[in-house]
């Protein structure tokens, strides 16, 4: 691997339930701050058992010019802010020429879709505005951010539900390694709607036994967990070839070592240990490293019964019982399409601080989960390589490896 095919991260941007910016994300995570709250729409729906979500604090976005904002639902705005932050950290005021952009989401804006549906049901399709359509195309956030920031390279929106953010980081990594581009913004974005909670609730995948204590609602790996808490946000990283970063003289935050993806074809909703294991082994092979070289697995671990068991059993099989493992969903909830990239940003910060964040709300690991080293309190430790997992409903799995700059 030479400097033109070695891929590094030189910028990061985030909008999370802790607020806009990577700094707020890191502060919230480090402090174990609560960002979950009761959702009144869920409280009014007796058939929905989960009542909690995590959302980005309400903000007045009128500082963004109207012509930029008119094509953006909330998830587009989150992406715009995250993209600006990532570009700035990478040393750019304006997007460089032929910048690649790889970003998607699980769904597009449910709020805007429901508005359109109400026109249809009321036989008032003449009320549809151009801005409505421009906000609900599958690639609306991607296109709107390209227009706003003049990103003129290849823009592609991979959409694989909960794996979207990490899949798009993988796409960016492959695009740079292949020579398609030398620089790329990549990640995922998502906006919350109570419908998300209701859908996962029907699948019996939500947190239901801590509605009166939102802070403890999501408990990855814990024996008392019942499921996930839906959340929202956006995470984008600026990747480029090491050659490009060295030529520009910008600080390298992390190196992307490898990426792998596979698909579980046995079941849409229940991950199999075997396929997850193959995914993690594939990423190790892609990076040409051994399991022993991985210092931490930042798990997908959403807090569902089946998902956490399958992932940790697979992790034990690949890495053995000494593997240190954590999940950030206890802090953030499940930011869906943004989770892989938002949590990767946290991984880069953990590498920089040489600190493993604990899994929030994990008190007693479930005996059915794999035998690994569950990090339950902040741990200062030499940290060189982290594997990040993201798995989607639909069976789309991916694993990415990042390393602290040498």
């Amino acid at each position: 691997m030479d400097d033109s095919t070695t891929v590094v991260i030189t910028g990061m941007g985030a909008v999370s339930p802790y607020g806009p910016g990577v700094q707020k994300l890191w502060e919230g995570l480090s402090q174990g701050a609560n960002c979950m709250h009761a959702v009144s729409e869920l409280t009014e729906l007796p058939m929905v058992n989960t009542k909690v979500a995590a959302t980005v604090p309400d903000t007045d976005y009128s500082f963004i010019p109207r012509k930029i904002r008119r094509s953006m639902s909330r998830m587009g705005i989150y992406a715009y802010l995250a993209a600006q932050e990532a570009l700035q950290q990478a040393g750019y005021e304006n997007a460089p020429d032929h910048l690649g952009f790889f970003m998607g989401s699980t769904l597009n804006s449910i709020s805007v879709w429901l508005e359109l549906a109400s026109y249809s049901q009321g036989a008032h399709l003449e009320r549809i505005k151009t801005s409505d359509f421009l906000q609900i195309m599958n690639h609306s956030p991607l296109a709107a951010v390209c227009q706003a920031l003049k990103i003129n390279g290849p823009a592609m929106g991979g959409s694989e539900a909960c794996a979207t953010g990490l899949m798009n980081m993988g796409l960016g990594f492959l695009a740079i390694r292949s020579g398609l581009v030398s620089q790329a913004l990549c990640g995922g974005t998502e906006e919350y709607h109570p419908m998300f909670s209701a859908c996962f609730d029907i699948m019996q995948a939500t947190s239901t036994n801590s509605n009166d204590n939102p802070s403890a609602a999501c408990r990855p790996f814990d024996e008392s967990r019942t499921g996930l808490v839906v959340s929202e946000g956006c995470g984008l990283v600026f990747m480029e070839s090491k050659k490009s970063a060295l030529a520009r003289g910008v600080p390298i935050l992390a190196e992307v070592l490898g990426f792998y993806s596979n698909t579980d074809t046995e079941n849409m909703a229940f991950p199999s240990q075997k396929t997850l294991e193959a995914c993690m082994r594939g990423a190790l092979a892609s990076a040409h490293i051994s399991p022993k070289q991985v210092d931490l697995l930042n798990a997908h671990a959403t807090g569902t019964i089946a998902g956490d068991i399958a992932e940790t059993q697979a992790a034990q099989a690949v890495f053995g019982p000494s593997l240190k493992i954590n999940s950030l969903k206890g802090h953030l909830g499940h930011t869906m399409g943004a989770s892989g990239s938002l949590e990767s940003i946290a991984c880069v910060k953990m590498l920089a601080d040489q600190q493993i964040l604990p899994t929030k709300n994990l008190q007693q690991p479930d005996a059915r989960c794999g035998r690994v080293d569950y990090v339950r309190s902040p741990r200062q430790t030499p940290l060189h390589i982290i594997m990040k997992n993201s798995f989607a409903i639909g069976g789309n799995n991916c694993s990415l490896l990042i390393r602290r700059p040498l």
Binding site: S62, K67, R70, E126, K129, T130, L134
Partner: protein, 86 residues
């Protein structure tokens, strides 16, 4: 029948809400494109909100090339409202 003053008031209210104009921007001589910055996408959305506001169909007869200023827009709606009433 709706008065011209009412047409101006309601049009301005709709444009302020849709395009976030300040009241002082909406002077009769203001040019929709050159002074207020409305582009072709805005022109379509403007028709949609004004149709809802006045309960008339504007889109068939509407032509941004002939409606240059806000005053032209008021004239157009007034004429249409009269036709509608007749």
């Amino acid at each position: 029948m709706i008065t011209r003053e009412e047409i101006i008031k309601q049009t301005n209210e709709a444009l302020q809400k849709e395009f976030e104009f300040k009241p002082e921007q909406l002077v009769p001589a203001a040019r929709l494109r050159d002074d207020l910055g409305l582009d072709s996408l805005d022109a379509v959305d403007m028709v949609v909100v004004l149709e809802q506001k006045f309960g008339v169909t504007l889109r068939q007869g509407y032509d941004l090339r002939t409606i240059v200023t806000l005053n032209d827009l008021y004239d157009f709606i007034e004429k249409l409202a009269q036709t509608h009433t007749n």
